[in-house]
Symmetry: C2
Subunit: 434 residues, 2 copies
């Protein structure tokens, strides 16, 4: 179980006929209504920073703005489709997305602005609204809790994914058993640079991720936790350095966590108090959320189109953290580096020259590079004997090849994880039909 | 003929044993000495802006600085090797490059700082100095003018190139027959962002290009013409968005242009006066140099590793020219766009989302995209009937596919040319031995 294991959530999936394959392609995630939810239920969202955004992102941002401004009860319904991203579709696209939300809301007896639309698939084609509308009664009637709906939902949102993605974490906070569940999709057009509602973000898929938790946490606090988590997870992966117009992460809290077993006394009916930013409970929750997001991110990059292995570039000693991230991003996106990783080739010259190409000034004569545990380049000079080290052969054959670049030019550090570039990647993307 | 067709230049090539294939791998280009050269002979250079630079670039930059400061007679000898880039080789690399220049200079009876070293090939391996030194007498003895040495030189500098590159232009300036010849190499690690000696450059291969002309033009004026030419040619091509540590363009003028035939009178012995920046002759020369460089650039991207076709992204109506260039660069480097071009797939959603990912703000609802002559997206809305237009099928099958993105957000324009991404690219770069 994933998204319906935390208490207070239902999910379902169905077929609307948007995928050429005829597989399930629409899904619904619904948070139960509770009385006097107050700050115990919250909804947080993060979206692509692409200048061109899909109609669902336009609507989602507006819902987020109103939620954080206190003008709207946190939306508790997510309506998702795969097979059509409803992006580059102009005003018609926005009207189409709104129409699907309206119908879903009516069936659920909720206001339209309780429904967040989310779409992935081909760009620039009008959304087949009627197909989705026709599928909605089945979706609503199918809402349930359990392994079945969780799996069906995770599968319905897939596009070029080979495998569905889900994650789960649990922890005890203030004596309450808090659970976090998540599903995600994404294999191509993956390089999320999610915006941040709580502060300015610096870091680019269609990546969709939906997170549920039964923790009691307000929209504002959940948004802060989500922004922090995204920066150490989604924003650090790339398949193709091509940020989508549809990247979306939505997290919802139900506030229904129950007393952890073994805490003594009859606590039935006692409700968890909302987590406040800065509190030990919030920090623990944020850490679990970050782990959950890192888990999903790793699943996405592992399933990157055509990928056979991943690699992580860690940069230390940069002028700043931002500089370290820029350098790591440049290296992890170099097709020459990606091909070398694919070929298990310790061609470290490609790594250091990619680093030098990030627009960040550093003193190359003080730079060093390790592959796994093996130093191949130190203080601007090659270590020729490294190429004969058996440990190097093992390091370049790892499932996740580790490059550590030390610049000795400051205290900044950062990292990015990418995947290798293969002939299969080219086949998938040269043949993928518009 | 190419580099020795302009009067006053000799070239030769030989085998030093640096290429595993055993093919020719060292070359020499030499400008003849003339008395009282003054401002009639000049040498201009442009180098990679990568933070990590090869030892020859370190030396070349210093020679350029001294030349432009008037502290050095313009260097008139270029010693080139392929098979080893002498980059990431520390102080030893610089000493090694100097040693080869010293020996060449002695054989040519010139000062050491008359010799510019230039290297391309594997990164992070010490230069086999003795092999090059052993080849130098043959190189010097072989110096000659004609088709033979021009072709041999163009071939000796190749690495992963399938074909050698050369170009030639001629024009009449002030009654003198001015000739420009050039050779170049480059197929991978191609995305030049050349520095500029005459001003700050904004726009990454190992791309090497060597240009000769018999025009009379000083180092300073030639540098200005070269910087202008580079910005409309080398800096606008990319194969893999991975700027090399070794990109180098060197232009040398001999000042030996002769009177054009049919200009009347006995002008033998009359020398062309140096071209001064701003003069009509300088403008004409600069235009010819820009054409020559564009010709070489096109040859390089056509021969991009694994490429079957090229594509050009033109951006109009951007906030500024720099913004337009950034957007064009983002699009032309997207692997999703490159694969679509390979697959002749009019998947324009990839183009507009790549554009939106360049970090340049624009109003997507005012953006339009044409592929060749066919509008596929206009004012933020798709043109569905375009997908059935036979002209679109022709446009995506062109040798150079043309994308024109109009943002209607300002007066800035720019363009970049790239090549498609193929399974052959992956094979070349996953198997290329360090």
């Amino acid at each position: 179980m994933s998204i319906t294991r935390p208490l207070g959530f239902l999910a379902s999936a169905s077929k609307a006929g948007l995928k050429p394959s005829g597989k399930p392609d629409v899904a619904l995630i619904v948070r139960e209504l509770i009385d006097d939810a107050g700050d115990r239920q919250g909804t947080a969202m993060a979206f692509t920073r692409n200048q061109l955004i899909g109609a669902p992102v336009v609507i989602g941002r507006e819902l987020r703005r109103r939620t954080l401004a206190g003008d709207l009860s946190p939306p508790g319904v997510v309506l998702i489709n795969a097979g059509n991203s409803n992006a580059a579709t102009g005003d018609q696209g926005i009207a189409d997305a709104r129409r699907t939300c309206e119908v879903a809301a009516k069936l659920l007896a909720r206001p339209t602005d309780a429904v967040i639309p989310s779409s992935t698939g081909v760009i620039g084609r009008l959304l087949p609204v009627q197909k989705i509308v026709d599928a909605l009664p089945t979706l609503v009637n199918g809402l349930a809790r359990g392994d079945g709906p969780d799996l069906a939902t995770a599968q319905a949102i897939m596009t070029t994914d080979n495998v569905h993605k889900s994650a789960f974490r649990s922890l005890t906070i203030d004596g309450f058993a808090v659970q976090l569940g998540a599903i995600a999709k994404g294999a191509g057009m993956i390089a999320p640079r999610l915006d941040s509602a709580s502060r300015a973000a610096t870091p680019s898929a269609t990546m969709l991720a939906f997170i549920t938790t039964d923790a009691a946490i307000s929209s504002e606090a959940l948004q802060r936790a989500l922004d922090l988590a995204s920066d150490s997870s989604f924003n650090r992966i790339t398949v193709d350095n091509h940020a989508s117009c549809s990247d979306t992460v939505i997290a919802m809290s139900s506030g229904l966590a129950t007393r952890a077993s073994g805490t003594g006394g009859d606590d039935s009916g006692v409700l968890m108090r909302p987590l406040t930013p800065g509190s030990p409970g919030f920090v623990a929750f944020s850490a679990a959320l970050a782990e959950l997001c890192a888990d999903l991110s790793h699943q996405i990059v592992r399933d990157g189109e055509g990928a056979t292995r991943t690699f992580t570039v860690t940069v230390k000693g940069a002028p700043s953290d931002e500089d370290a991230d820029r350098i790591a991003r440049e290296v992890v996106n170099s097709p020459l580096v990606k091909c070398a990783v694919h070929g298990r080739d310790p061609n470290w010259g490609r790594v250091v020259t990619a680093a030098g190409n990030a627009g960040v000034p550093f003193d190359a004569t003080r730079a060093s590079l390790d592959i796994g545990p093996v130093a191949v380049f130190a203080n601007g000079r090659p270590i020729p004997e490294a190429l004969d080290n058996p440990a190097l052969k093992i390091a370049v054959s790892a499932d996740d090849v580790r490059f550590t670049l030390s610049l000795n030019s400051g205290g900044g550090s950062g990292w990015m994880t990418g995947c290798d570039l293969t002939t299969e990647y080219v086949r998938i993307n040269a043949d993928y039909t518009t």
